[in-house]
């Protein structure tokens, strides 16, 4: 018993960091109505500011009190700039747009710190003394008590502020009913700004004081947002005290799992305790939160209904698809090998983005787990080939089936969840699949990798090493590019036909209003399940293509940051359109555009991360419907003007 108590106490430090970020997420949601994925990144910025001021990184050194004060000023300034430049222009945009914008802020903040201060972790000067307290026959760090005490104290102060002040009352009013708040003379914009500053101060406190608990780098604090989201969801993104308590509890539960992992009864894989059990716990907690605390998150009565971009009915698909496919097929032969590979990467990226067009664009389900589904298909292909000697086409079919199966399991959890809440569930699912599945030596990537042999059909090699090597005679073979092209074209046509058919109309009805759809005799559950199934199938195809493209499967290719980037760039491309998927494919990792930017302008790595983050934010503000949506709208307007001109001319002639 004393050991359990000890490990509960040892989890306080981690719990406090999770709790602080969860409180920051709740404050932002109350003030602005969106889930801030960049909450941990704000804490990181404050940490970097304090470190730079204390260590002379900026050319001068200041004392601890002044460094703390200046770091608070910095974090408030950053918060104000982000609020005014990013979130306020998107106030009436769809929730997904705001979620993606916060992802853009996260990417930009990470890239800026990487470029400014390098990839190293930095020695954050600890304000809280690094001492231990001897208790329960062990040493417990003092910082764990101090930091958790600070977070609990801040939470109670904020609770009092929201409970007993006019500002708190106004915030609660605006968060419950935006319209009524405006009628009462309150300014939601000002309230949003004030709450953003408050969240910034909480997160800044974490960044400055967590030096003795959390490492100062560009990943540790930013990605603690995932368990923090679990705590925030338990609090229904409303209660500060519940978010704080849940954050502390998650930290302590994780510590207990570490203790349990040393026990003989704890399941093992290849001699090591199962990895990813903590992430599985967080996922389970989020799903439990959804069932226990209600399916939907509190929404605000808004002046303007916030919805995803339009889904225009595709016209002339064949006319566009056939010449484009022909051009692409020829390009795969005539292009030099490096651009041939970049084009192949783009084609696979298009397939991956198509899965998001179906599930998010058509049905409005924000699923971050799609890339993980692709990973499941990829690993299945590898394991079947290596462990069972099963190759093409049975292995990819089995891989796709596995992806569809997991997609349907995800769908079951989505039946009660929608919108940004589903995004949170699927982020946690993606983290759990990555850590519990892909990192596991037995069913994920093995110690010596997960090789994938070339696909061969009737003795014909269809893989990147096929004997036909294009005009330059180099690897990769255009044959695999053609396979990827065929998959991209066929799946694009499938998605177009779904949109045109009765199923597509039902999907749009569900996306628009589930209750109204049910009222119109649409089986919402079945529509969702079918949509998840189709999108998982497409993701599975992408996963098998990734596997054959690389000749191996690596867990890193299916990580959560990449999954978030995928959904962000799919949204920026135009998440409701097949042409949007094409844009997303063009900017996929090592796709045509990133490769060209790297080759011709040397823009890659961290600079590309910064560029990507800024372009994402700019695109969202300028074209909330994405590049393809904006392009489509321009074409439509031009066609309309042309038609009007023709009508007026014929009238004049008459």
């Amino acid at each position: 018993m004393s050991e359990i108590l000890l490990f509960l106490l040892l989890g306080l430090g981690t719990g406090a960091t999770i709790a602080a970020i969860a409180v920051g997420v709740v404050i932002t949601y109350r003030g602005s109505g969106f889930i801030n994925l960049a909450a941990g990144a704000i804490a990181m910025l404050a940490g970097f500011s304090f470190w730079a001021l204390r260590t002379g990184e900026l050319g001068f050194t200041v004392g601890t009190p002044l460094a703390v004060a200046l770091s608070y000023v910095f974090v408030v300034l950053v918060t104000v700039v982000i609020e005014l430049a990013v979130y306020r222009p998107l106030r009436t945009a769809a929730p997904l747009a705001k979620l993606v914008a916060s992802l853009g802020v996260l990417l930009t903040a990470q890239a800026a710190m990487l470029l400014a201060f390098g990839t190293s972790q930095h020695p954050q000067p600890a304000i809280i003394p690094i001492r231990v307290i001897r208790m329960l026959d062990a040493a417990v760090p003092l910082s764990a008590f101090v930091l958790s005490g600070m977070v609990v104290g801040m939470t109670l102060l904020l609770w009092a502020l929201y409970r007993w002040t006019r500002f708190g009352l106004a915030t609660r009013a605006a968060s419950e009913n935006d319209v009524a708040a405006r009628l009462a003379g309150l300014s939601p914009n000002e309230l949003s700004l004030a709450n953003a500053i408050l969240a910034g101060l909480v997160l800044g406190t974490l960044g400055i004081f967590a030096g003795s608990v959390a490492a100062l780098d560009t990943t540790t604090l930013p990605f603690l947002v995932v368990p923090a989201l679990a705590a925030a969801l338990f609090a229904r993104l409303t209660s500060l005290t519940i978010a704080c308590a849940c954050g502390l509890a998650i930290g302590m539960a994780e510590s207990l799992i570490e203790y349990a992992s040393t026990k003989t009864w704890f399941p093992t894989s290849a001699g090591a305790a199962w990895p990813g059990v903590k992430e599985l716990l967080v996922f389970a907690l989020i799903v439990a939160a959804m069932f226990l605390r209600g399916a939907s998150l509190p929404t605000r009565g808004e002046l303007v209904e916030q919805r995803l971009p339009d889904v225009p009915r595709p016209k002339h698909a064949g006319k566009l698809a056939i010449p484009s496919a022909l051009l692409c097929a020829i390009a795969l032969v005539v292009l030099p090998f490096d651009f041939r590979q970049a084009l192949t990467n783009s084609l696979i990226g298009i397939v991956m983005a198509l899965s998001l067009v179906v599930i998010t664009g058509f049905v409005g389900q924000i699923s971050v787990v799609q890339l993980a589904l692709a990973g499941v298909a990829g690993f299945t292909v590898s394991h079947l080939a290596v462990d069972a000697g099963i190759g093409f086409p049975l292995a990819p079919l089995a891989g796709i089936a596995a992806a569809v199966l997991l997609g349907l399991v995800t769908a079951v959890s989505a039946l009660r969840v929608r919108g940004v809440a589903l995004a949170v569930v699927t982020i946690a699912a993606a983290v759990a699949v990555f850590n519990f599945g892909f990192v596991n030596s037995t069913w994920g990537g093995g110690a010596t990798g997960s090789p994938v042999p070339d696909p061969k059909l009737f003795g014909i090699n269809l893989g990147p090493t096929a004997s036909f090597r294009g005009l330059d005679g180099n690897l990769p073979s255009p044959v695999f590019g053609w396979v990827a092209l065929a998959a991209a074209v066929l799946l694009s046509l499938l998605v177009i036909s779904v949109r045109r058919g009765i199923l597509g109309q039902r999907m749009l009805a569900v996306r628009s209003n589930e209750r109204a759809a049910a009222g119109a005799a649409i089986d919402v559950r079945n529509v969702k399940l079918i949509a998840f199934g189709i999108s998982a199938l497409i993701a599975g195809v992408a996963g098998t293509l990734y596997a054959y493209n690389f000749g191996s499967v690596s867990a890193d290719r299916f990580s959560v940051p990449l999954a978030l980037s995928l959904i962000a760039f799919a949204y920026a491309g135009g998440i409701t359109l097949v042409s949007g998927a094409v844009f997303a494919g063009l900017i996929a990792a090592q796709g045509i555009m990133p490769y060209a930017l790297d080759k011709w302008f040397g823009l890659s790595g961290n600079w590309f991360l910064l560029f990507g983050g800024l372009v994402l934010i700019f695109t969202l503000i300028q074209n909330p419907e994405g590049v393809a949506g904006s392009f489509y709208r321009t074409l439509q307007a031009r066609a309309k003007r042309k038609a009007e001109l023709a009508t007026s001319e014929s009238a004049e002639a008459a």
């Binding site: 981690t14 020695p123 760090p141 992992s261 090591a272 305790a273 990798g449 890193d556 290719r557 090592q590």
Partner: protein
Amino acid sequence: MNRSARSAALAGAALVALVLAIAASATTARSDRATAPTASAAVTNYLTYVKGKRGKANPRLSKVYIGWVNQQGGQVVIGGLATAGAQLAVRYVNDQLGGVGGHPVALVQCFIKSNEEEGTTCGQKLVNDKRIAVIATGAVATGAQSFHATIRGAKPVVTGVAVTPVDGAQRNAIVLFGDAGHILLPFGTYARNVLKAKTAAVVYPQATGITEAALVIAAGLRQAGISVKAVGYTQGQSDLTAPLTAAGATTADFVAPYGSAADCANQANALKQLGITDSRKIMTAPLCLSPQVSAALGDWPLWTYAIASSNYGDPTDKGMPAYQRVIKRYKAEKNAPDPWHIVAFSELLTTVRFLNEAAANNVSRITPARVLARAKVFRGPLALGSPKLQCGKYKNAPGICNDMFQAFTYQGKFAFKRASGWIGPPGK
């Protein structure tokens, strides 16, 4: 492992160890049964090592190209200075060692920044370049799988220290200094013979490659008859007091924190918080001896390091003065102590040796197969590395050439104290 080969190696090593034990007055550490000589086998003359000709390479002759791949420029950089080490070696070879058969050597570089796709891109770039007969790699984790899957054995790949187990598993690979899966087994030897440890704690982040390596440490400790508790934690987790306590680190005789360079600072902070500060009983791999870690902590952690190469701060290493002369000549003092710089410098010199052997005074004879054949029969001593190499000793990792290390206790400010000679896996 091949048992007869191992027995022969152990017998030979034991004989030399006997001689060495008399001479090993510089160290307080005890030699192991598997200890091999250091000083007598050190490479002190790079000209004879690379089998070159004194003087400059002839710039009018065609160049001999070596592919070079490293992971740098993205969010994760493991051995950023490996490229500088490789470039220095090429410059030195062209200035002083006559290039390859008088032809200047040039690197065709390809860097992986952050995507698996870049491994494929680099693989294609180097495998398609017909001028390149051999590829050398620095510290590559991201994209390692796709890189090797693209090369598919078409060209030999020479690696200094392999970051992932994928490299050593390739038949066309030559991993000169070894990889985690093999050079970590002697942790057990060190704990048993030097510390007389009975209990050990191993903590590691749960990540592909790292988990397997930590299990190798645990296996080595168990082979040495030591009771082990190994605890994994989520990669990126910053507060490590709970996993360390769970592993029993506070009371263990030997503590092995393992991970990538990004994990070292967190591990060091947590150990310090728990009051575990005996630098001899905390042992890890030299991944922590990186600028990234010294930047994070102000200096490297005061632990003992299992180093499969020479150590810049070791005054007893007879191979080091030759390296230091090159460093001084090219004013590269800033990068010199970095282990990745040392390893890459040695790796490129060794690659040039393979090329010179394959050329046999006629560079047109150089083919990937000839280079690979020469590399596979190389038995050392390795410049700035192990006194003997055993490429092909492990059937499941045919690329691995070394499974021994030297232990050094870091005393701060770039000062090391030798804690053992070259030691191998614990005997049964």
